[in-house]
Symmetry: C2
Subunit: 346 residues, 2 copies
């Protein structure tokens, strides 16, 4: 499997997902600015992958600090951390990864060399952990998948959105590995087509049958009884279970409810943000109108504006269950999410 | 305003909408086959425009029949009519236009020259009628629009989808002409982007502010209270008020209901098909997977399939009202649609 990101010596190598499925090229990042560029341009995307990229980027930032005095060093590192935290607003995993690296630096001994080594090790641990978490999530989620099932997903919550294996597609992979006959319907996911470009590519490589559909087709597809369950990832889950995820997810959840199809969210506990009480308080990134107005070598009439919200919020009443590495969480989410996070901290 | 289609001497000129908004070119059709090509490739699209194009195409077919015997002539003409009727399955206006031309030929005197002249006149009348119908629809619909309103629409139900003026966009135009301050949000409408390419173009030309949004954004846009009402066109309305329209319409209607936003359908009575009791009996066209799998010079991974249903069916319980040239029809639709069609026949 093509890695999403990895350390090559002292360089962070990031797969340029904007070029997929046509080309498999990596961007070599030697400083934090380059990692931020990758995050902001969506060369690397997906909440868990952004978290790991942020941790790696902070290692590069830490290494670039030229002062020796530990107090001043920590000040500089904190400043870098805040720049990284602001790279993208919606996925809470970015902030979560930054916090984790900051806490480690604070607790580390005084010697800068030691801190640097610890930060590097932590970034490697986060990558390895992320894959292990996704596999655990996959095992829990696979139990919800019938022996023969067509699973509809939106955007890409796969290996490419994570350190590896994937969240929503981790559930698909685990179900397939458990011998279930799964097919995938991948919403193409405009404007950047992560479903058509990335999810379809991952599934073809895995040998799992996949059909791409326009985002508007979800109602018609469910009318034809083609979908047994929906599984999507998440960028941030509020304390009440409202789920921020790629724009268009809300339509999937609403059609699933209308058609009596289960709608699951697969996300690590790091995506659950107990500090955000409800979805309306999640900051939603607005991106360049050009992503919407340009298409296939053409563009909308001069003078057209665009609405380019990168995410929407699926209200908790439409979420059948949330699949995490610690098990499947059910409503009422205020209780189940808080309990799962409390256990995680022990 | 650029015409959608017109007679130039004995040639049917059809605006090639596949090239919009980049280029304004016309396809000169000298025989019915060329008109069918335009209909099937979506050079001309939109239920009312397809109806008028079919009528014009049948004039070309009629003229090409070389037999003189009136009985044999009518047989040949009927055969051509059936070929035209099969060009696309979902929009009932195609079949409606074919029926109208067949009925005229049946009722006409014996002389072939006379029949030809009558068919030509009928096709001109249908074009003129369509524009008049749309203006009447606009007047009725404009009363439903607040003084200041943002109207969300899907696909293109504008001048380009009709003989002129438009159905859903006719309502927008009439509201603007009545001095109301209207803005439009145009769903881009994948896979063929009729919203981004055509609706935005029409609105820019009209001087009405327009913002294009990905089809997946409708939930997030309504969450932000940006939409006062939705108006869409229709390809076929069943006797019970179920509405077949461009894929993605069902999502708009379902989100509108969730957010308490009125959802209107604007369509001429010719789009109402009392012979089809409910939406599940409307034939839904499936188009080439390549329309979905190719994008922006790239394509989905080799081995991906696609689902490319051209239309979906919005259930009648989600339709606030149906705007026709005879007035605004309300639930229960079984009664109101039948009554409106009965009046129309008198």
């Amino acid at each position: 499997m093509v890695p999403t990101l990895y350390w090559e010596g002292d360089v962070v190598m990031i797969l340029d997902q904007r070029k997929l499925p046509g080309k498999t090229t990596f961007i070599a990042c030697k400083d934090m600015r380059r990692v931020i560029y990758c995050i902001q341009t969506l060369a690397v995307r997906g909440a868990p992958a952004i978290g790991v990229a942020a941790a790696m980027g902070l290692v590069l930032a830490a290494r670039a600090i030229r002062v020796k005095d530990p107090v001043k060093w920590r000040e500089r590192f904190s400043a870098s951390a805040e720049i990284m935290r602001a790279a993208r607003p919606t996925a809470v995993n970015l902030s979560w990864a930054v916090e984790r690296m900051l806490a480690l630096a604070d607790a580390a001994p005084q010697e800068v060399e030691t801190i640097l080594a610890m930060l590097r090790r932590e970034s490697e641990l986060m990558l390895a952990e992320d894959i292990a978490i996704n596999k655990a999530m996959g095992r829990h989620g696979a139990k919800l998948v019938p022996k023969k099932a067509t699973i509809l997903t939106h955007c890409n919550a796969g290996s490419l959105a994570t350190g590896g294996y994937g969240t929503a597609l981790g559930v698909v992979r685990a179900a397939a590995e458990a011998g279930k006959r799964v097919k995938v319907i991948a919403d193409e996911t405009r404007p950047l087509l992560q479903g058509a470009r990335l999810t379809a590519w991952e599934m073809v490589q895995e040998g799992i049958p996949v059909a791409v559909a326009p985002d508007g087709a979800v109602g018609a597809i469910m009318d034809k009884d083609l979908v047994d369950l929906c599984v999507v990832g998440a960028d941030r889950i509020a304390a009440n279970g409202d789920v921020a995820n790629k724009i268009g997810t809300f339509n999937v959840a609403l059609q699933a409810r209308r058609h009596g199809v289960p709608f699951y969210v697969a996300a690590p506990l790091s995506t659950i943000d107990l500090d955000t009480p409800s979805g309306d308080l999640i900051p939603i990134e607005e991106r360049d109108p050009g992503e919407v107005l340009s298409f296939a070598g053409s563009k909308a009439a001069e003078g057209s504006e665009a609405i380019n919200l990168a995410f929407d919020v699926t209200p908790n009443d439409l979420v059948t269950a949330i699949i995490t590495e610690k098990g499947v969480l059910k409503p009422p989410y205020n209780r189940s999410l808080a309990a799962a996070k409390a256990v995680d901290k022990i």
